[in-house]
Symmetry: C2
Subunit: 175 residues, 2 copies
Amino acid sequence: MMDLIRALYPLRTYLVISGVEKPNVMTADWVVPLSFEPPLLGVSISKKRHTYSVIKRVWEFVISVPKVEMLEDVWTAGTKSGRNVNKFEVTSLRTKPSMKVSVPSLEGCVANIECVVEREVETGDHVLFVGRILHVDASSEAFSGELPRNDFPFLLHLGKDVFTTTSGEILRAGG
Amino acid sequence: MMDLIRALYPLRTYLVISGVEKPNVMTADWVVPLSFEPPLLGVSISKKRHTYSVIKRVWEFVISVPKVEMLEDVWTAGTKSGRNVNKFEVTSLRTKPSMKVSVPSLEGCVANIECVVEREVETGDHVLFVGRILHVDASSEAFSGELPRNDFPFLLHLGKDVFTTTSGEILRAGG
């Protein structure tokens, strides 16, 4: 029997960085744009997660867009808890200073999206943090002009330990 | 200059069905799981949209997962307004009865996710409708056992009229 929400999968996989002195990183599929103006996004995090309590305290976070080559670290970030492990010691993920928030960004990611929390919304067993985007650092490796590049292999999660990528195919509508 | 929220793209593209006597369908990229138990999802809709006022009134909606072959209809559903046009007359999309809600489902989609609205959350220029999933009808063409099939080409939106699909590649983590 499939989890009901699995019908929305596969979903893009992102990394969420939280904390300042002791930064932490976790993997999250449940990330969504929420407004163009002001620019808002949402990240839905289980109340059991270490990241939940850190964001509650610091009220900032960064969403990073990983490369396929980072899959093993993405998996570790999603299956270990920052309560027990310093994930920056057990992965090759490295922080770098952000531009507009005190929470760090990630080196080697193709985008770092710096957010300050506007509000939190309780939804069942998760909390949706609504973040206002203060700054985006997007690499030309994955983004060109106004759009993501079709030929960059963005990472998607099918569930469990199974991931895939975007195909690179261009489908143009409205021809 | 790229829209800040574009750094989260490409995103999966879904169809949102609203209304009962005069059903309407629109395209939405801003759809996200919000809870396993109870099963909740969110769909973020501009307050200017016809679908917004219809969901406000009926308090139910269905999220459908389209096939790549439906791209032209997906595009029409996202660029025409149900205020002016009956989209079921100008596309080949067809409704069928849902199991647990009065809003219809879509024929030919690989999943129909039937939801009743639990609450709405204002976020900037959009409103997030939080829906409780009452029933999911998922086709074995795209879902197998507990997971989506890696070899099914799920549709993703890069922006404007440009779309792509999942690649079918299997990336297994934690090996």
